[in-house]
Symmetry: C2
Subunit: 418 residues, 2 copies
């Protein structure tokens, strides 16, 4: 079968399975998720053997140590996949939930009821655990899903797909509810992105290059974020001890992720006191600073920041620092250079906290907390399928509810329109 027919058949089969999935009771979905968890643990050796084939190929192709690390399915990876499945099984089922009900003057009872989106396509890079995490969330929310992982993880992903298919078959569920693209061919992605008749949503997960490729080639709606240029603004009224801990946490705790701070903005009034303290902490943590002229004056010896630094998502132990005249200047900086991802203020001033929350145009806006909390798990969504920085359908971390939509349900007693 050629690649075009294969992908078309997968898309059609997913659509057919999605009708079944939309009607599937919670208990049945949860049982499948728990059985997949058990089976992944039971078949860990076989999965890891397939993973070693991927790793050998990857080494031959000269992949970096970081990439090899992400590709490796260690024992803890197996445990974490199984645990993730059990956690998703324990989440409330969004399907059928009525979010609101009201009665019209003519007696009609109108409700909004959550239903699945239909078929979701996930396009991602090397980590094989995404196969399980994403499949679990789509499945629990009553959607059919097509997973397309990185070509370097093909054997690992096929091994996981095998487990899933066997569990679905044993449960008499449609096997095509969860499908993993079984070929390396890049063309598969292009064909998938053109199946707007069968696929309702595409979620790309990976680097900016992958995401831009998907957005440019998709005829299906895409939920995505390109990057996270996240800021912390230390106001003149800030508790400077708190500001110090939040800034260090936002930059250092895990610098390579999208919700890490990239630029620190400091109110002029407190810059002279705050910046030297911060510089000591950051230097101790191995962070390189790049400063505006005022920052460089206060901290002699650090590199000056260029205009390009303000736009930069370092994903590394590098931090741009700018002294601003007031909160307006801070908000203006975030608006101009930010990515609508995550913005935080440290302040003790009631009015500024309120203004910041109202005015900042970002998917997560925080007062006196680390930017690192922009995460579905941390914010209490249960688990996260991704983060959206565009506003349609979802803005911010997307949990299981964001994989659903609502329909209107109307109960009447013979009402007609006059």
């Amino acid at each position: 079968m050629n690649i075009e027919s294969l992908m078309l058949e997968m898309a059609r089969a997913a659509k057919a399975a999605s009708i079944w999935m939309a009607r599937c009771p919670s208990a049945q979905k949860n049982e499948v998720l728990l059985n997949i968890a058990d089976q992944i643990e039971a078949e860990a050796e076989g999965i890891q053997a397939e993973n070693r084939r991927d790793l050998n190929n990857a080494r031959d192709m000269g992949l970096s140590d970081a990439m090899l690390d992400r590709l490796t399915v260690k024992d803890p990876t197996i445990q974490s996949m199984a645990q993730g499945l059990r956690e998703v099984a324990a989440l409330d089922d969004p399907v059928g939930a009525v979010t609101k009900t009201w009665i019209r003057p003519n007696g009609l009872e109108v409700s909004r009821m959550r239903i699945p989106l239909g078929v979701i396509g996930i396009i991602y890079e090397s980590r094989p655990n995404v196969t399980i995490d994403a499949a679990a969330l789509c499945f629990k929310s009553g959607n059919a899903v097509i997973l397309r992982g990185g070509s370097e993880a093909l054997h690992s992903n096929q091994a996981l797909a095998g487990v899933i298919t066997r569990v679905l078959k044993a449960a008499n569920m449609p096997e095509k509810a969860i499908q993993v693209v079984p070929v390396r061919n890049r063309e598969a992605v292009n064909i998938l992105l053109a199946q707007e008749e069968y696929i309702d949503l595409i979620i790309p997960r990976g680097g900016e290059g992958l995401i831009r490729f998907v957005v440019q080639n998709s005829r299906i709606p895409v939920l995505k974020h390109y990057k996270g240029v996240c800021h912390v603004f230390v106001d003149e009224s800030a508790d400077l001890d708190m500001a110090e801990e939040i800034s260090v946490n936002a930059k250092v705790q895990r610098p390579g992720v999208c919700n890490a701070m990239e630029t620190l903005l400091v109110h002029r009034t407190v810059a002279g006191e705050f910046l030297p303290r911060m510089a000591r902490r950051f230097t101790a943590a191995g962070v390189t600073l790049r400063g505006c002229p005022e920052t460089c004056r206060i901290l002699p010896g650090i590199s000056p920041a260029t205009e390009a630094d303000w736009y930069e998502e370092y994903l590394d132990l590098i931090l741009a620092v700018r002294v601003v005249d007031d909160m307006d200047a801070a908000v203006a900086h975030m608006t101009q250079y930010g990515s609508s991802h995550t913005e935080a203020i440290v302040t003790s001033d009631y009015r500024r906290a309120r203004r910041f929350v109202r005015e900042m145009d970002a998917s997560v806006v925080l007062v006196n907390a680390s930017t690192r909390f922009n995460d579905g798990g941390q914010l209490g969504l249960g688990a996260e399928i991704g983060i959206s920085t565009s506003k349609l359908h979802a803005f911010g971390p997307m949990g299981i509810d964001e994989l659903t939509t609502t329909k209107f349900v109307v109960f009447g007693d013979g009402q007609i329109r006059s």
Copy 2:
């Protein structure tokens, strides 16, 4: 200025105005809406004079009477535009509304707060009242809007735009918050649809041709429905008097709109009793029937329906009728031939009512009520910007809330992530 620069400038100006709009207090927005209403009434003569220029051109171009009728701004049209503005002014402002708040174990207070989408583009056909209705909803929800009406309504729309701009100016509000494309050139639409950097959402309103054109050419997300192939299923347990009134209302009350019934499905058990009654009512109302073989057997003399009839959106006094063996067959018919728009059942059976509501994949699912209730006003959304039959962001009638999204607001006391 060439058309490309003009459209780009409009898009950029809208984006700039949207930042201002997002922060605009309700009272100020409402005052502008009420002032526009007053001013439209005060300037009715001038608006109608410009409308006569459009009508004269349209007559010269040989437009149909139906199209001329839709284009005409009569006194009641002026009244209804003013009333619409006052109704939108009276709606609750969605911006800043907190839809949910919860506390995390670490004490973080997390909320979801409604914010505007940003810039909305509306592309529509001849009715000039859409200019006012759509502008009002986008403005009230804190969005900037670019309106592109039918070329045959250019003078009417420019007259309305003039009123809006003068009111915005007098209120010291950004004039570019509401803009009407001032040129006939079709190319303007193509350029608009490529401004994904500045425009967040496109809503086309009009015939299927317009909507398909917009979807195929837009790089911006589009909310739309192509057509409404709506069904009423009369179950064997139906109160046949109720079924008769609902069916007549769904077909006859306003046959030219998307939520009118196009196909009637009747349970075999009651077809012999119900169909002759219905045929008398429909014949009296001037409705032509096209039936399945069983319908033709019960109602000799009516035309047989072809396969194509089941897919047809007549928008006219024509009705396809099919006798089905049971509810499964009815649901299967709606799933195969329907457009996910509006589906109704008439039944007295508790379990079937519940099953229908759960299983029907349509934006509005009704039990014992006319399909004609799929309408934002009728369902209590206040006013309606359109209907979506795709599931992302909105499904069904879209009111003012659907012109917003939510951001996460997090209040902490120095929380950091461990």
